[in-house]
Symmetry: C2
Subunit: 177 residues, 2 copies
C-alpha cells in the first residue's frame, strides 16, 4: 500500500520548520511535487550482512531465543513484529546492494523488554552467547534502563526497558503510553 | 512481554542443526540453560546515527513522505509499522552506546512497496531528495523488483516490490503470502 501523495496543511506547516544549511541549500520542495506518492510509513526488512551465517543464526537463537522462519546456508529470516530480520552472507548483500567493501555505519537496533531485571538478564544471556558488551546497563537521564551489546559482526543492539513506550502482546511498539 | 524460556522439542531439534566451526567452538547450549528467558521476537527501534538531524529529517520527510511523531534539535522519532525509526545526532548515539568512533557496519533497511512502478517512483523521489543511488532497480533471480539507495549518512535502503511477502494495510510484513 502506498499512500497517495496529497499533503495536508499540517505537512506543509511541518516542512516549514525544517531549518539549517542543508535545507537552505536545497530550496525546492520535493514533497510539494505531486509526481511521486509518499511511501507507506513502515520498515519491511532489516538485513544484516554477516561473515558466517551459521554462527549468526546460533547467536540469535541462543542469545535472544529466536527461531528463523526460513533458512538456507547463506541466508536466514526471522519473522519479527511486523517486519523481517534477515541475516545474509555479507559478500552477497554487498553484491546485491552493488556496494563492495563495507562502508562505515552508525546505528543500533533495540529490543525493548518489560523490566530492568529483564534488561540485565537479556544482556547476560547475549554475552554468554558470544556478544561483546558495549555498555553495561544503567539508567539514562530520560528514564528507563538500558545497555548495549554488539553481535558477532559488530552490529549494535540496545536492550532496554522503556516505561514511556507501549509494547503490545504481539511486540508492536507505539510512541507514548 | 518476555516469553518464558521453556523450549519445545522443535527448538531442540533446530538447535541440533547448527553446524560449523563456530558452533563447535562453543559447545555449551546457552538456550538449554534455563537461567534466562527468551526475549520477545521483535525489534523495537532502529536508531540511525546522523551527522545533521535537520538534514536527515528533511530527507526522510521529502524522500519517503514520512512525518516524525516526536522531534527535537538532536533527535527525531518516526512511528513505523510496529517499531520506531530514530534519527539521533551521531556523537550522542556513540556516547550512549559507549562506542566512540564509527565501527564498520554492513546492513540494509528495506521499504516494500506494492509494484515495480512504485519502486521506480520511490527511488526517483529519494534521489531527488538527496539520496545516493547504489543500485538502479532491476529484477533479482528470486523474483520481484528492487533497487538500493543510501541516505545522506550512507545508510542503505532497499526499495522493493516482493510479491512473495504480504504487507497489510498497516504495513506489517509477513513471510509468505
Amino acid at each position: 500500500m502506498v499512500v497517495v501523495g496529497i499533503m495536508s496543511p499540517d505537512d506543509d506547516a511541518a516542512l516549514l520548520t525544517v531549518r539549517g544549511a542543508a535545507a537552505k541549500a536545497r530550496p525546492e520542495r520535493i514533497s510539494g511535487d505531486r509526481r511521486w506518492p509518499d511511501m507507506q510509513q513502515q520498515i519491511s526488512v532489516i538485513t544484516l550482512g554477516v561473515a558466517d551465517v551459521a554462527r549468526s543464526k546460533a547467536f540469535y537463537r541462543e542469545g535472544f531465543g529466536w527461531e528463523p522462519v526460513f533458512e538456507q546456508d547463506d541466508v536466514a529470516f526471522f519473522q519479527m513484529s511486523g517486519l523481517m530480520l534477515g541475516l545474509w552472507e555479507k559478500a552477497q548483500l554487498e553484491s546485491d546492494m552493488q556496494r563492495p567493501g563495507v562502508p562505515p555505519g552508525s546505528f543500533a537496533l533495540a529490543s525493548n523488554v518489560e523490566s530492568a531485571e529483564a534488561v540485565d538478564a537479556g544482556i547476560e544471556r547475549l554475552v554468554a552467547a558470544g556478544a561483546t558488551l558495549l555498555r553495561p546497563a544503567d539508567a539514562p537521564p530520560h528514564g528507563g534502563y538500558r545497555g548495549y551489546i554488539a553481535d558477532p559482526d559488530g552490529n549494535a543492539w540496545e536492550i532496554a526497558w522503556n516505561p514511556a513506550w507501549t509494547v503490545d502482546n504481539e511486540g508492536h511498539v507505539t510512541f507514548g503510553v
